[in-house]
C-alpha cells in the first residue's frame, strides 16, 4: 500500500509563485535596488596572507573629488564577531590574516572614483610569515593566525561510542584509507551585495541578498554594537545561496559603516573576483582518514574517522561543519561502535564555511569510498553491502539521532532498477564501470541556541486571498511556492489565492533562515500551523453565517460549507468581509509556530540533532579513457526520500541542481593556492559545470511519509550534493582499478594513478 497520501494542492505540478517576474527581468535583485542619492562603495583588501598594519593614511583618498566617506577599523567599535567564535572584525584591526581581507573602504558618487580612491589609501604593511597547510599549522613553532589559539587549533573533537578496540577485534576484515577534499565555491551567479542607509535616529536599514535574515541582523547588531531593533534587514530577490549567503562575511557590515559615515545610502556589490577572495565562505576542506571493520557477511562492525579540517583565517560555521563531517554519516547505516577525532585548524587562507552539504560531502567522499573498499575486499556487490547496513525507520544512531522515517532500502531498489545494475555488472565493458553511494541529511539542525523552529503569520485580505508573512529565506530554491501550497492545502483554497511576502526583520516574525535543508519541514510546519489558526477563525465566522457548528465545516476551492451539504456555502472573501465590516470588526489574521522535536546536542555532541532525516542513493556508470585519463559519466540515476513531495518541479530542481554541484565538486572544481594566494579566482579557471558537462540523468522520489512533517514532507536541498564525488570515484575504480584520493578527480591524477598501477 502506498505511503503517500492524496492532497488537492500539495504534490501538484504548480508553477513557481515568482515565475513571471523571473522571466521578464522584473525580479529585484540586490544590484537592482536604487535609492535616491545612493553612493557606490568599494573595499580595499589585503594583498598579503598575513601582515601587520603599521598605519593607514586615508587623507589623499578623502580629498579626491566625489569621495563621500573613507572608513577603516577606527570607524568601528572593533568588536569581534562570528557565527560560533567571535574572531573576525568588520575591517582589519592591527593585522590581516588572509589575502582579500577587508582593510578599508570608500564610498563615492561613482564606481570609477571609488576605485581611484582605493589606490590613494596608503597602508604601511609589515608582511609576516604565514601558515597555509593545516598539518604544518599544528606544529610547535608554526606562525599563529590568532595569538590566543595555540597550535592554531580552533576546535578539537574526540569521542567514542561503544568500544572501538573490541569492535575492530571482532571484525573479520578491516579497510583503511585517507581521502582529501578540496575547497569548493558556491558560485551563485549573483554575488553577495548590500544596500545600506542610516537614519540619524540611529537605525540602519540594510537590503541584503541573504538567505538568513535574522542571523544577519543578530551578527550585524553585535558587530556594530547596537540593539537588534536598530537594524532592519530587508531581503532582495536572491540569485542563488547554497549556504554562501548566510552572512559570515563582512559585505553588509562595511556597507553599513560607510552609509553611516557618508550620511547617504551606499551600495557594495562584490565583483566575481572579490566573491572568490573574501565573499562566500567556501566549503571546509578536509583530510579524512577512515577505518572500517566488517563482519564476513558484510555488516559494518566498527568505524573510526580522523578528520583534519582547514578553517582558514576566521571560523564562521566551520566548527559545526567539522562536527557534521565527523558524525552525520553515522545516521546512514546501522552502526554500533564508532570513534572519531576531528581537528579544525586555522590557516592564513580564506575563511571556510557553509556550503550545501555542510561537511557531509567531504565525509561521504571518504566514507562511501571506504564502504566500496569493504565491498571489494569481501567480494560482495556494493549495492548489497549498502542494503545489508542501510538504516531503517526506528533506527537510533550512536549519537542519539532518532529516525522517524527512512526509505533508504526502497531507494536502493529504485536505483538498482533505473540503472539496470545487475545486467550492467554482468556485462561489464572494458574501461567502463559502475559505482554508487548512499546519503543522509537532516531537515533542520538544532545548533543556533536551543531552537530549530520557525514562525509565520497569515492574513486574509478583503478579497479573500491569503498573504503569508514569513521571515524565512527564499534564495531561489522555491520554498515560497511550497509554503503557498501548504497554506492553500490547509485553508482549502486554490494555490492562486495565496501570496507570500519577502522577508523583512521589521515586519516578519523570527525565523532562522535557509540552511540545513530545513525550510520545507520546519517552516512548512509553521505555515501549516498558522493556516490552521486562520482556518479556525474563518470557520467561526462562517458558522454564524451558515447557522452551523464550526466543528462541522470544511473548506474546498475557497468555499466553506457543512460537510455533506455543499449546496449552501460561503466564500472565504464573504467571511473575511463579514468579520471585518461589522461592529467590533477585526481582520482575520493568525500566526503559527513550530519547533522541531530535536535536542540540543550535549557537551559530547550526543542528542537528536534534527526533527527528521532524509535519505538517498545515487549510482553512476562511467567510461575512463586510459590514454587521456578523461572521465565520461555515461549515466547517473538518483533516488531520494524526502517524504511527501510538496512542490514537484522545485523538488526535481533541487535534485538536478544538487547533482550538478556534486559533479563539479568531483571532476573540475578546486581553487588553487600559492602561499595563501588564490590563483584561479574567476569562472574561466575555476570551472563549474556547463550544460554540456551534465550526463544523462534519471531520478525519482521514494514513496515516503514523514509523520512529523507538514503533510508528510521532510528536507531535500542538500541531499544530492553529498555523495556524488564518491559515486563517480567508485565507478572509476570499477572501470580501471585505480582510485584518486584527492579532489577534484582530474585526468592528470587518473593517468598518474594508472601509471603507478602499471609500475
Amino acid at each position: 500500500m502506498s505511503k503517500a497520501k492524496n492532497f488537492s494542492v500539495v504534490g501538484k505540478r504548480v508553477q513557481r509563485v515568482e515565475g513571471f517576474d523571473k522571466v521578464t527581468g522584473d525580479s529585484k535583485f540586490i544590484a537592482d535596488i536604487h535609492l535616491p542619492g545612493m553612493l557606490t562603495g568599494r573595499i580595499l583588501r589585503s594583498p598579503y596572507p598575513h601582515a601587520r598594519i603599521r598605519s593607514i593614511d586615508t587623507s589623499k583618498a578623502e580629498k579626491l573629488r566625489g569621495v563621500r566617506a573613507v572608513v577603516t577599523a577606527e570607524d568601528t567599535i572593533k568588536r569581534p564577531w562570528g557565527a560560533f567564535f567571535a574572531d573576525q572584525y568588520i575591517l582589519s584591526v592591527g593585522k590581516t590574516r588572509y589575502v582579500g581581507e577587508e582593510v578599508a573602504a570608500v564610498a563615492a558618487i561613482d564606481p570609477d572614483i571609488a576605485e581611484e580612491a582605493l589606490d590613494l589609501i596608503e597602508v604601511d604593511w609589515e608582511p609576516l610569515p604565514g601558515v597555509f597547510d593545516a598539518d604544518e599549522a599544528m606544529l610547535d613553532g608554526a606562525p599563529l593566525v590568532h595569538d590566543d589559539k595555540p597550535n592554531n587549533i580552533a576546535m578539537h573533537l574526540d569521542l567514542e561510542r561503544g568500544n572501538i578496540v573490541q569492535a575492530f577485534a571482532d571484525s573479520d576484515i578491516i579497510v583503511e584509507d585517507t581521502f582529501t577534499s578540496m575547497p569548493q565555491w558556491h558560485c551563485a551567479i549573483e554575488t553577495i551585495g548590500s544596500v545600506a542607509e542610516y537614519s540619524p535616529n540611529g537605525k540602519y536599514t540594510i537590503y541584503m541578498n541573504t538567505q538568513t535574515l535574522f542571523n544577519a541582523r543578530y551578527r550585524i547588531a553585535t558587530a556594530l554594537g547596537v540593539p537588534e531593533t536598530d537594524v532592519r534587514v530587508i531581503q532582495s530577490a536572491v540569485g542563488g545561496g547554497f549556504g554562501g549567503k548566510s552572512c559570515d562575511d563582512n559585505n553588509a557590515l562595511v556597507c553599513a559603516v560607510l552609509a553611516r559615515k557618508a550620511g547617504k545610502p551606499v551600495r557594495v556589490i562584490n565583483t566575481r573576483e572579490e566573491e572568490f577572495l573574501a565573499g562566500c565562505r567556501p566549503r571546509v576542506f578536509m583530510k579524512i582518514n577512515v577505518k572500517l571493520g566488517f563482519k564476513k557477511d558484510g555488516r559494518i562492525r566498527a568505524k573510526e574517522l580522523k578528520v583534519i579540517a582547514d578553517n582558514g583565517a576566521y571560523s564562521a560555521k566551520a566548527p559545526a561543519i567539522t562536527g557534521v563531517a565527523a558524525m552525520r554519516h553515522d545516521t546512514c547505516y546501522k552502526y554500533s561502535d564508532v570513534k572519531l577525532e576531528a581537528k579544525l585548524i586555522y590557516t592564513n587562507k580564506i575563511p571556510t564555511g557553509a556550503f550545501r552539504g555542510f561537511g557531509n560531502p567531504s565525509a561521504e567522499w571518504a566514507v562511501e569510498q571506504a564502504i566500496d573498499l569493504g565491498a571489494h575486499a569481501l567480494g560482495i556487490d556494493p549495492l548489497e553491502i549498502a542494503r545489508i547496513n542501510a538504516a531503517e525507520t526506528g533506527y537510533v544512531s550512536p549519537h542519539g539521532n532518532r529516525v522517524t522515517s527512512c526509505e533508504l532500502k526502497q531507494c536502493l531498489d529504485m536505483v538498482e532498477n533505473m540503472i539496470d545494475w545487475k545486467a550492467k555488472r554482468a556485462n561489464k565493458q572494458p574501461n567502463t564501470g559502475m559505482g554508487l553511494a548512499c546519503t543522509v541529511h537532516v531537515s533542520g539542525k538544532r545548533h543556533f541556541g536551543d531552537y530549530d523552529g520557525s514562525s509565520a503569520t497569515i492574513k486574509i485580505n478583503e478579497d479573500g486571498k491569503a498573504l503569508i508573512l514569513s521571515g524565512e529565506g527564499e534564495c531561489g530554491q522555491g520554498v515560497h511556492t511550497a509554503m503557498c501550497q501548504i497554506a492553500a492545502e490547509e485553508l482549502g483554497v486554490p494555490v492562486e489565492d495565496v501570496e507570500i511576502s519577502r522577508a523583512d526583520t521589521d515586519l516578519t516574525t523570527f525565523c532562522l533562515g535557509a540552511f540545513a535543508s530545513r525550510l520545507t519541514y520546519v517552516s512548512g510546519n509553521a505555515v501549516k500551523n498558522a493556516a490552521t489558526n486562520v482556518k479556525q477563525q474563518l470557520y467561526e465566522q462562517a458558522a454564524e453565517m451558515l447557522e452551523a457548528n464550526a466543528a462541522d465545516l470544511i473548506s474546498r476551492d475557497g468555499r466553506i460549507f457543512v460537510q455533506g451539504a455543499e449546496g449552501k456555502s460561503v466564500t472565504v472573501a464573504d467571511v473575511a468581509r463579514a468579520r471585518l465590516f461589522r461592529h467590533n470588526g477585526a481582520p482575520i489574521v493568525g500566526s503559527g509556530s513550530f519547533d522541531a522535536d530535536s535536542v540540543l546536542p550535549d557537551s559530547t555532541r550526543f542528542g537528536n540533532e534534527s526533527g527528521a532525516y532524509n535519505y538517498g542513493v545515487q549510482a553512476a556508470q562511467v567510461h575512463v579513457d586510459p590514454l587521456t585519463g578523461q572521465v565520461k559519466v555515461l549515466q547517473m540515476v538518483v533516488a531520494s526520500d524526502c517524504g511527501t513531495v510538496i512542490y514537484p518541479i522545485g523538488a526535481e530542481g533541487q535534485v538536478e541542481g544538487g547533482l550538478a554541484q556534486g559533479i563539479g565538486y568531483a571532476l573540475t572544481e578546486g581553487l588553487q593556492f600559492d602561499e595563501g594566494r588564490p590563483l584561479n579566482p574567476n569562472f574561466s579557471d575555476y570551472r563549474i559545470p556547463s550544460m554540456r558537462d551534465m550526463p544523462p540523468l534519471q531520478h525519482a522520489f521514494a514513496d515516503s511519509y514523514e509523520p512529523t512533517g507538514p503533510f508528510g514532507a521532510k528536507g531535500l536541498g542538500e541531499l544530492n550534493m553529498d555523495p556524488t564525488a564518491a559515486v563517480i570515484n567508485n565507478a572509476i575504480f570499477d572501470a580501471v582499478g585505480v582510485r584518486v584520493k584527492t579532489l577534484p578527480i582530474t585526468p592528470e591524477k587518473i593517468l598518474r594513478a594508472l601509471k603507478e598501477k602499471k609500475g
Binding site: 508553477q15 513557481r16 521578464t24 536604487h34 531561489g476 530542481g653 535534485v655 538536478e656 563549474i688
Partner: protein, 159 residues
C-alpha cells in the same frame, strides 16, 4: 572621454552622452535603468549579461559604449511581444527553467538567439548553443526541456 551615442534599444531610438569606455551592461543598468540584464562575472565567462546586438547574442559586459553607434540592441525587457510572453519565457515558467532567476535573462536571450535561427534544435544543439551560459541552480535539465518546449510552441505557430 564622453561621446554622444545613438542606437536602438528594444525598438526605440536612444541617444546618450556617455564615456566611450562605459560598458554596454553598465549603460543599460545604471544610465538607462534597464536592470533586467544581469552581471555575473564581468569577464565574459558566465553569459548572465547576454543581449542581442544586431541580431546576434553578445556578452554586454564585453561591449564598450563606443561600439554602439547605430546598433540595434534587444534586452530581456524587449523579449515580450506586446503584453504577451515570448514562447521561451512561457516555457521557462511552465517547466521550471528558472530557480533563482539570476542567469535567466541571459539564458532566455541566448535561447531566443538559437530559436531565431533554428526552431527545431536537437538536445545536442541546445546544449552546445547554451554552454556559455552558466546556471548554478538547476543542473540545466529543466532549461533544456523549456527550450525544446518553446521550439515546439514556435513551430506550431509558424509551421
Amino acid at each position: 572621454m564622453n561621446k554622444k551615442i545613438d542606437f536602438t534599444l528594444n525598438g526605440k531610438a536612444v541617444s546618450r552622452d556617455v564615456p566611450t569606455h562605459r560598458l554596454l551592461l553598465d549603460l543599460l543598468r545604471d544610465e538607462i535603468g534597464a536592470t533586467g540584464t544581469k552581471e555575473g562575472c564581468g569577464t565574459g565567462d558566465c553569459g548572465a549579461c547576454t543581449v542581442m546586438m544586431n541580431g546576434k547574442p553578445v556578452n554586454s559586459c564585453l561591449i564598450l559604449s563606443g561600439e554602439l553607434a547605430g546598433a540595434d540592441i534587444v534586452t530581456i525587457e524587449g523579449l515580450k511581444i506586446g503584453a504577451e510572453l515570448h514562447a521561451v519565457q512561457k516555457a521557462f515558467v511552465q517547466d521550471g527553467g528558472a530557480q533563482c532567476g539570476y542567469c535567466t535573462p541571459g539564458m532566455l536571450m541566448m535561447s531566443k538567439a538559437l530559436l531565431d535561427s533554428n526552431n527545431n534544435p536537437s538536445e545536442e544543439e541546445i546544449r552546445y548553443a547554451l554552454s556559455g551560459n552558466l546556471c548554478r541552480c538547476t543542473g540545466y535539465a529543466k532549461i533544456v526541456q523549456a527550450v525544446q518546449d518553446a521550439a515546439a510552441m514556435l513551430r506550431s505557430k509558424n509551421p
